[in-house]
Symmetry: C2
Subunit: 570 residues, 2 copies
């Protein structure tokens, strides 16, 4: 933390009690993450810095802390803000009250739509925000060559951003084969950002894991097995225990959580949708669940606060100690992590603080991002005379899909779905104005009886995804998204039943978080009227195009066999 001589003089005088501190939390319990003790005393703050802990202080502004326990602000070690469907400005309104004062974000969803402009937007947001949103440089945009993205971040672009002190590191390096096979642009990105590279290496082990680590990758948020996490821990990889909306690893990795392992663990949310935040909270709920499951509170709070600070080289936070940034969470219950009040940089987080922020950076560059002509039902016809068909099998609450093989009717050169067997048509339509490609395929597991649902969120290239019982309703749903310039849509009987607009890059709403949560709840209800029984139908639709997750996916270029990493005929 930088301070001028004048600021240091105030800091010293307030710390010594020679003048009243700017803010004092009086007579509070302080959970000391170094000693593990809970002591009772005052916390004094000067400007954005803690200047006293334990001793008695008087303050210009005083808060009675006698009903609370103070802990340091929480750090989300890896998050995609876009998964919450709100702008970064709205994101902090949503997560700061949960005690999240620092987050490391990867803006790769918006970057896949808009390229480097997305990085600029996030960096500008972070400069104007209250919470400390640390923007990492998205490393794999586009994620593969089997899809058409709107933006790309080349090694040269990475080099440009790596010199920005606000974005010194690479976000999750998903292209593991690229590392192992020494792809030139991969090596260049790794070389530019050495020592500061986040990982993404599900199930990687043995010598390949050694190579990935030796290349400079430092952490992983994709551990889904305890044995996997143990190998990575032994090899010095920081384990970011993830609890997203779909991928949830806390229960599996709970046995790791103890004081001995704490320095090598962090918490992260990765992808968490708005309803999940409403119903299940954020890092606060992870903390509470870990403690409820029997983990040592000292280990848990170190993992939530101190370990990520050290891992990412932020020596100014993670403890309640003189000299640390005044990021303080006041809890009405330590073990249940009930957040009563949050203080960020010495400022009390409340509506007035949010209202006093500088204006949000303009989202104008990301509006009108659905760049394609409307379609007719004709566009969804599958021309084929071969009944044997690869079908994508989806499973509730899993990103992994099954590679099914079904026999479908081919009448007059046109292959048809069998809705009664829950085999539906699925399509991905390029929407970045590049080539207008439409990938067509078949999927089992959505369970629609009628109509269609569509989304302009479609990981990671975010083309338009649609699944439906009739070609006509698929066209209606897609055209509704084009009209809305992005969002989620439900069509039935040739009509648009519901649209939730997401006009910012086709990914984010401009509305407030409560409104977004409400709209999402409503469109989930609308989707259920099609007969779809899934809890999160749009999330499962949005992950269908991601060709880095096994086993069968669909992009705007067609159906992808992930293991062979090639397009296959439908």
């Amino acid at each position: 933390m930088k301070a001028t001589c004048e600021q240091l003089a105030r800091i010293i005088d307030q710390a010594r009690g020679l003048e009243p501190a700017d803010l004092v939390i009086r007579n509070t319990r302080i959970f000391c993450l170094t000693s593990g003790e809970t002591i009772t005393g005052d916390i004094a703050v000067c400007g954005d810095r803690i200047v006293g802990v334990g001793e008695t202080y008087s303050g210009k502004n005083e808060i009675d802390g006698s009903n609370w326990t103070a802990v340091p602000g929480f750090i989300d070690a890896h998050v995609h803000v876009e998964s919450s469907m709100i702008t970064p400005y709205e994101f902090e309104r949503c997560v700061l009250p949960h005690g999240v004062t620092t987050a490391f974000c990867d803006p790769h969803e918006l970057a896949n739509v808009a390229g480097a402009a997305a990085l600029d937007y996030f960096l500008e947001c972070s400069r104007r925000m209250i919470m400390d949103l640390r923007v990492r440089i998205s490393s794999c945009v586009p994620s593969t060559h089997l899809e058409t993205a709107g933006g790309a971040l080349s090694a040269a672009t990475v080099r440009h951003y790596a010199t920005d002190p606000a974005a010194p590191g690479l976000a999750e390096f998903m292209n593991v084969p690229g590392v192992l096979n020494k792809a030139p642009d991969v090596l260049e990105k790794l070389s530019v950002c050495s020592e500061n590279i986040d990982g993404h290496a599900p199930l990687l082990g043995g010598r390949d894991l050694n190579a990935y680590l030796a290349a400079g990758v430092r952490n992983c948020h994709e551990c889904s097995l305890l044995s996997e996490a143990m190998e990575k821990l032994r090899k010095g990889m920081q384990i970011l225990i993830r609890e997203g909306s779909v991928a949830r690893n806390l229960d599996t990795l709970l046995p790791l959580i103890n004081v001995q392992n704490a320095p090598f663990l962090c918490f992260c949310t990765d992808d968490r949708n708005p309803l999940d935040i409403v119903h299940s909270g954020h890092l606060d709920r992870m903390i509470a669940r870990a403690i409820a499951a029997g983990a040592d509170p000292l280990a848990v709070y170190r993992i939530a606060c101190y370990s990520p600070a050290l891992h990412f080289g932020l020596s100014d936070r993670g403890l309640l100690a003189p000299g640390c940034r005044a990021d303080i969470v006041l809890l009405s219950d330590l073990e249940q992590c009930r957040v009563a009040q949050v203080i960020k940089d010495g400022r009390i987080v409340d509506d007035a603080l949010f209202a006093a922020r500088p204006p949000a950076p303009s989202v104008a560059p990301f509006l009108h991002s659905i760049k394609r002509e409307k379609v007719s039902a004709e566009a969804f016809r599958v021309r084929s005379t071969r009944p044997e068909t690869p079908v994508i099998g989806i499973r509730e609450l899993s990103l992994t899909t099954d590679f099914l093989k079904c026999t479908l009717p081919c009448d007059g050169g046109e292959k048809r779905a069998i809705p009664k067997q829950d085999i539906l048509k699925v399509a991905v339509l390029e929407r970045h104005g590049q080539n207008g490609h439409i990938g067509l395929g078949f999927v089992r597991g959505f369970g629609l009886h009628s109509g269609a649902i569509a989304s302009s969120i479609g990981h990671d290239s975010h083309n338009l995804c649609v699944v439906g019982v009739s070609d006509e309703d698929m066209a209606v749903a897609v055209n509704a998204l084009i009209d809305a310039q992005g969002g989620l849509a439900v069509a039935r009987n040739g009509k648009t039943m519901d649209v939730m607009p997401l006009p910012v890059g086709g990914l984010l709403s401009e509305k407030s978080f409560p409104e977004v949560a409400q709209e999402l709840e409503r469109i989930h209800q609308s989707a259920r009227l099609t007969g779809c029984p899934l809890e999160t139908p749009f999330l499962q639709l949005a992950f269908l195009p991601l060709p880095v997750i096994p086993f069968l996916r669909i992009t705007d270029q067609g159906v992808v066999d992930v293991e062979k990493f090639t397009l296959i005929e439908v």
Copy 2:
């Protein structure tokens, strides 16, 4: 760790076992500092980087590790190289074989003689050395205004060096009163180096400690009480457990050493003289003693390797893990920390490696540093008619002195010592060519029966210090130092009995470490012939002028009452 694309390609191939690794330690026990397990397997190294741990590898160069246990290189968190009386080049020959691969040094002894040139010299040495000698910017040169130093490091100079990535932080900020009283140059130094400031705060506590920490100081190596260390630990201060030649805190602080506290602890040697290194080793002996005293080996090795790496933001070391710097210590005994072989940056540390170093930077700027005329016995006469006299009382193996009050004979306006009561004359003679001051006083505890001993090491300004039974022998000893241009001297019966030359700044020898140790042993024998019973008479003499340590000291300006921080009449 930076790597080019070409280097990354080699690293990846060697890590995957596609080509032989540059170096493989075969079939060794690996003490894993993350999991706490000891596993058996290979360690593969490519260039200066570990690329594989645990799996089987083949190498271009292979070492049989089956009799050894591998741990990461040790980190000395705070050391004054000058205390070992050898140049940095010779220092690494001495400590690297003890497993010390990284050290944070404060060149403030040489800086007090030569100013910024000392920093330049240390930085240039560090660029050419094998071990990683991290040079911190000396923060308090001169240490007080009550003495005359040869060099000074102003806030402007600190600002200049703070931009050098090789010296980004401030060394021990000894001027605690300056911080608490907001001295302008102190605030400027703190402001320039914020977030990266080492501490020195013996017995500081309460709100004053809060102020010192809030001003940006991060660690302390001066804890001599367990309660003191506990308060500092609670307040987030990193505790550097020190075991120097004189100040030794390991036994006192042993109860702190456990896995829970390990992240907040480091080891350091501060000031260790050559004989001590010969007889008691270095960090290896601290490790062994801590374990022998019952400390958990996992905690001890984390403190020796991993915690300092994290504390100082070196994410490339402290673990034996792929991607880490190949700083490896091979032990024939883990608990006794018996070092069998050291590997630094992937290179086996042996005579050939030292011989292949680039030439040592020239010490010419630091020769001829004793800039004063020779003296006669007359110079040591104390003119006074007041028998009441403040006398410095020294204690064996303690830096603290007692403030004694004695009655001394004053005949004809000259005050005399009483050698039979072990009250001797002591003098400090300015030697930087600035003012020729001579401070005179009396001391009890040296126990000389005849002659005099003198030293050009005299903390921190390094003027000439001499204690003796006769004024004539004091003059002889001082003049011997002027002839030798620095060193240690013993005089008796009007003759120079022995001189150990320290021509580099009057502090360091140009000889090899074994020769220096032998010379020091010899001059200790010579000093014993004066009747002095002290184990380390020159060390105790050298610390007499340090006016920041209680209670009574002497500088070239006279006798200093440390508590009142003023000169007093003798």
